[in-house]
């Protein structure tokens, strides 16, 4: 991949950034691209207990029309509970899976095809009970892993597209979270709360295999095409979050320090899996979005000219690479806003 120096990137991108706006007030967060780059999901969190999920159509890096909002069928089209929550979108071939609150306040999984229909509940309570969270589809669409607290703690379950049945992946006394499939759809990486913190494990049918433990939390793993796992770690303590990569059990390498931990997302990988993108938690670097090669060989940055830039998401569409991120327009602004910028030829592909 051609590399650019950070000097070339600095100051070049803000003029190209397009803002995705909605009329609802709140922090824009958790941008997530569809695989073809034609749609961008994001959340608006009013920090009063309501989180709405939107999808914006994107053409050549520019939002087209007003973003559509995920709604349920029925006269009561909003999600229920003490607040209305629809969040944590995960794109599939023909729509997205996300977490939504029910009238009773439970969290369930919903499927939504923006522009096609209302959102519908993915699995009924007679198939699997409890709060359902962390949906993660296998790349080939053959299965969907998720977490249910039906037993009183988080357990990983898998819905099998061939049988239309749900099975519990692991029997353990611990709480598991954040499952992610590898490229082949055979192995899951996930985090497990044990001994006070979160550690990473993998499972491919039998029992869980420890991957990375240690101080603090190791969480939100995501596979690269080559099979290594990129994740967030707080092993340094004091609220410091870093990004690390593991190529196997016990092996880890820190790629970036003091990153801005996204609200929900795992580390943002480039479409080719060679780069990881992140914002910085350090005040003097908070206007940049950084890109670091997974092998640790290079880091580039782009100056957003905005404040507290973070939650990057990357996609390649039509031979071009687009970066979505959220940031405050200025230090006194109330709400984070969502931006899209074309970084074709200027960074990760």
């Amino acid at each position: 991949m051609p590399m650019l120096s950070s000097a070339l990137l600095v100051g070049a991108l803000p003029a190209l950034a397009a803002e995705v706006s909605v009329t609802e007030k709140g922090h824009a967060s958790n941008p997530t691209w569809s695989a073809d780059g034609a749609q961008l999901a994001f959340e608006i969190n009013d920090y009063s207990g309501n989180i709405s999920l939107f999808a914006a159509r994107v053409q050549n890096g520019n939002p087209v029309g007003a973003p559509s909002k995920a709604k349920l069928a029925g006269a009561e089209s909003s999600f229920g509970g003490s607040g209305s929550v629809a969040a944590n979108a995960s794109w599939l071939n023909d729509g997205m899976m996300f977490e939504g609150s029910t009238a009773g306040g439970a969290m369930r999984l919903y499927f939504w095809s923006p522009g096609g229909s209302m959102a519908g509940e993915f699995l009924k309570s007679n198939q699997i009970g409890g709060d359902l969270t962390w949906p993660a589809a296998a790349p080939n669409g053959a299965a969907l892993a998720f977490v249910s607290d039906a037993t009183g703690k988080g357990d990983i379950y898998v819905w099998d597209a061939n049988t239309n049945e749900v099975t519990r992946m692991l029997e353990s006394p611990f709480t598991e979270a954040a499952p992610r499939y590898d490229a082949a759809g055979n192995t899951l990486a996930f985090s497990r709360k044990n001994q006070g913190g979160e550690d990473l494990f993998t499972v491919s049918g039998g029992g869980a295999t420890p991957l990375i433990g240690g101080q603090g939390d190791q969480t939100r793993p995501v596979y690269t095409p080559a099979g290594s796992i990129v994740y967030f770690t707080s092993e340094r303590g004091d609220g410091h979050w870093d990004i690390a990569v593991s190529s196997g059990p016990g092996k880890k390498k820190i790629l970036a320090k003091d990153v801005r931990l996204p609200v929900r997302a795992p580390p943002a990988m480039s479409p080719d899996g060679q780069w990881v993108a992140y914002g910085s938690d350090l005040p003097d670097k908070a206007n940049y979005i950084y890109f670091t090669k997974v092998d640790g060989s290079a880091t580039v940055k782009v100056d957003t000219k905005l404040v507290a830039a973070g939650e990057p998401a990357l996609v390649t569409s039509g031979g071009r690479t687009f970066l979505a991120f959220t940031a405050l327009p200025d230090a006194g602004a109330d709400w984070r806003q969502l931006h899209i910028v074309d970084i074709s030829g200027k960074g990760p592909q």
């Binding site: 729509g95 499927f111 522009g115 096609g116 597209a161």
Partner: protein, 399 residues
């Protein structure tokens, strides 16, 4: 004597009857709309569906449903797994209030679903589970498939829309794709056909079995000369009568069999009885021995044979072909001394029948019962014509 004052309100009621009817229908529409919305808030989709069906009945009374009505019908159909109903109701809503959103939803269905007919013959003895190669994650697509699975298991039949993809029905694997210009039809039957010996063997439903038509008949008898013989002992030995513009009410009963020809076509062979009563003649003239005019009544009966190709599509069948009839006509002479006159004719003709099957015929496999409308004409060599029409209860093979 009724006072005029009493007539006024009665006249007013009569005059306003249509308006009152419309108002009542509108009131019912409003009630159903409110009921439907309340049911929707409780996710009581079967109730919403029932209310929507009642609304469709009101359309026949002149009530115009709103786009919102249709859209609640859309949601009910979607929840209940009938994508085809979703599609039709979206189109209805878009007709009332066109919008890019509705058009997008219609286009989305057209891009992701295809029409399909799954049909398992009663004589098919194997297992016939209906399965997608891979269940989609979209819950609405899954509901559509699960609905089809239930119908196939319970009724051995499904007609509707299913998501694009690969499926198996019993031993058959098939695809529903966006490239399908026509409805995908999959049939499991006892007979395997192999078109020209090429490709995979293909089961084709052989539409064959008994066919019965029975129902009331209306026949018009045209003008002609017929040879007659006197029935009374004192009557002449032979005569001829002229008959014109007579009509009769009667019945027609036929039974026979349909033979499978090829997909979409069968051949019906039928014989039956065809009779009319209570006719009257406008003119009657005995050309041999005496004038017989304006006889009071006329009757006839015939036995017929019908050979007719049948084109069929699902429950619709159109049968048309030639008939041959032996007709016996009876006419009373005005001159009592001549008694009744009767004559025999042989007639050629043609008949057409349009049948729609409504339900499976009890105790008869692969047979549908319903109603048909038939019409035809038969004529003697002397051009005495018998145009006729019939509405019949019909039993016919399943198409």
């Amino acid at each position: 004597m009724m006072r005029l004052g009493l007539l006024v309100p009665i006249a007013a009621m009569v005059a306003s009857a249509p308006a009152w009817g419309a108002t009542a229908a509108e009131a019912e529409h409003i009630r159903l709309s409110e009921e439907m919305r309340k049911l929707a808030t409780r996710n009581a989709w079967r109730g919403v569906e029932a209310s929507y069906q009642k609304m469709l009945e009101l359309e026949k009374k002149g009530v115009t449903l709103s786009a919102e009505d249709h859209l609640l019908g859309v949601q009910a159909a979607r929840q209940l797994g009938s994508v085809y109903d979703v599609y039709l109701r979206l189109q209805a809503a878009n007709t009332v209030a066109p919008s890019p959103d509705l058009q997008g939803q219609i286009a989305n269905i057209e891009a992701n679903y295809g029409l399909v007919k799954l049909d398992v013959d009663d004589k098919f003895k194997g297992e016939f589970p209906f399965k997608p190669e891979r269940m989609p994650m979209d819950p609405f697509k899954r509901t559509a498939i699960e609905t089809a699975q239930k119908q196939v298991a319970e009724q051995r039949k499904f007609i509707g829309m299913l998501p694009h993809g690969r499926y198996t029905l019993g031993p058959q694997t098939f695809d529903i794709s966006k490239d399908d210009a026509e409805r995908v039809e999959v049939y499991l039957g006892p007979v395997k056909k192999n078109k020209g010996g090429k490709g995979d063997p293909m089961a084709v439903r052989e539409r064959k079995g008994p066919r019965v038509d029975m129902g009331p008949l209306y026949t018009i008898m045209g003008s002609t000369d017929i040879e007659t013989t006197a029935l009374s002992s004192g009557g002449p030995g032979g005569s001829a009568a002229t008959v014109s513009s007579s009509s009769s009410i009667g019945g027609r009963v036929g039974g026979g069999y349909e033979f499978f020809l090829t997909k979409g076509w069968s051949l019906a062979l039928q014989g039956g009885w065809h009779g009319g009563f209570a006719g009257s003649t406008d003119a009657n003239d005995d050309l041999v021995s005496a004038s017989v005019q304006e006889s009071a009544s006329l009757g006839f009966w015939s036995v017929y044979g019908w050979v007719a190709p049948t084109w069929y599509y699902d429950d619709l069948a159109i049968t048309v072909g030639p008939t041959y009839s032996f007709v016996h006509v009876t006419s009373e002479a005005e001159d009592v001394s001549q008694g009744a006159l009767e004559g025999n004719l042989t007639c050629g003709g043609a008949a057409i029948s349009v049948f729609y099957g409504l339900f499976d015929t009890p105790l008869l496999s692969n047979s549908r019962s319903g109603f048909s409308a038939a019409a035809g004409v038969f004529a003697s060599r002397s051009m005495m014509t018998f145009p006729w029409a019939q509405v019949a209860f019909t039993i016919a093979p399943e198409g």
